[in-house]
Symmetry: C2
Subunit: 213 residues, 2 copies
DNA sequence: GCCCGTCTAATCAACCTTGACTAGACGTTT
DNA sequence: AAACGTCTAGTCAAGGTTGATTAGACGGGC
């Protein structure tokens, strides 16, 4: 009998997507290995503590969890100068996981934090893959706008008037995102950014972000 | 070498704001007393489980927490037909808390879920108060757009190109929200919705949403 | 030399969220 | 009449998030 009868979902680690996880894994990988404080500093310099609302405690937790899940390895370092610290490095499974998380974040609507995180890690994907995921997002947004317009015709009378009016705001956000996603797709097609399959990417030059230790 | 200096900033305000708390308190109050399943059903009919991503477990937790904090009272009811249930009723402090949460949610930017929840509970405020809060939001959004435009002139070179491009998306969202907030302010000024100081509001006719028990 | 603030680095308990599970009542299909 | 699904109503343990706190090193003023 198969001991693991339960079907594992697309993303390992139980399934629940998390922008924290993606950003932390991504920074560790792009830095070619990092300890907690380094991840924290880098995220802050990107402004991620503002737009992704990540707090230091969550970063350390995410690192430990990812290490327990086999996505990172832990290397304890004695504190020659300053406190002790732990160096984390991405495993092969960890790199695969990042790619899956970015693909998911680009497609998934109604999750702005995850989208922001995915954009931050965009160069983890090949150019054609990134374009495909962004186009999928465009398609989903268009479908949702059509759906929402249909609901506008015969509204649910159980919902109070002011709650129904929220729909206007959501539709506005969806249209904004739609245009932005289209322009991102176009920029990618025109060769913007250094993607995973371009010369000078993390694949050919890992550790290009490596920070002073 | 303060190259990666981190500012530890303590956000003012005692308890962390929560859309769940606002919606649960609000539904209990508007229903003139309700048990958990009733709150859950009402939120679902408003589509709140989709746009606020609230799950049943969180509702029961929020009810218990609010009762422990003195914002709701608990009345155990024997299960004459069906399982036992607990009836919750808003206290005076609970009502004050809802009003404060709505005011906060209307002003606070960068928290779409809280805004949605605040809009759902908009009639808890008086008309002039609601207009003031929405106008404050307009002012904040305008200030943030100016700030963001300034940052666009001389960008931080530490941030990768694609991360800087996120700013375009967030600016788009801010402009969408700005126009929407202005139109909401205008609608309120023109007398739309039944607000707390209007005849027929929860103040003069509590329990107008009361559901069959 | 000593004190003070800041930087580096991380831990911890309290709190919130969530998927999974329990259990009775009621209708209806076999 | 037994089996089955569904609705009502809620509990619980596992896991993620956060503010508070700890602790050594380092530079600058007194």
């Amino acid at each position: 009998m198969g001991e693991f009868a339960i079907e594992t979902r697309g993303l390992s680690g139980g399934g629940r997507v998390s922008a924290t996880k993606l950003l932390v894994l991504g920074i560790v990988h792009l830095s070619g290995g990092a300890h907690g404080y380094q991840v924290r500093s880098e995220l802050q310099s990107w402004g991620a503590e503002i737009w992704a609302k990540i707090k230091p405690g969550s970063i350390y937790h995410a690192l430990k969890k990812a290490a327990a899940d086999g996505l990172l390895t832990e290397h304890a370092e004695p504190g020659n100068s300053g406190p002790e610290r732990v160096l984390y490095r991405a495993t092969a499974r960890g790199r695969d996981e990042i790619v899956e998380l970015v693909r998911d974040g680009l497609r998934r609507t109604h999750d702005p934090t995850m989208l922001d995180a995915a954009i931050a890690m965009l160069p983890m994907l090949t150019r054609t893959d990134a374009i495909a995921q962004v186009n999928e997002r465009v398609a989903r947004l268009e479908a949702e706008l059509v759906e929402q317009a249909k609901g506008w015709e015969n509204p649910n009378p159980d919902i109070p008037e002011h709650v129904r009016d929220q729909a206007e705001l959501w539709a506005g956000h969806a249209r904004t995102e739609l245009e932005w996603a289209k322009s991102l797709s176009k920029r990618l097609s025109e060769g913007a950014y250094t993607m995973a399959d371009d010369p000078g990417s993390w694949r050919t030059a890992p550790g290009h972000l490596k920070m002073p230790v």
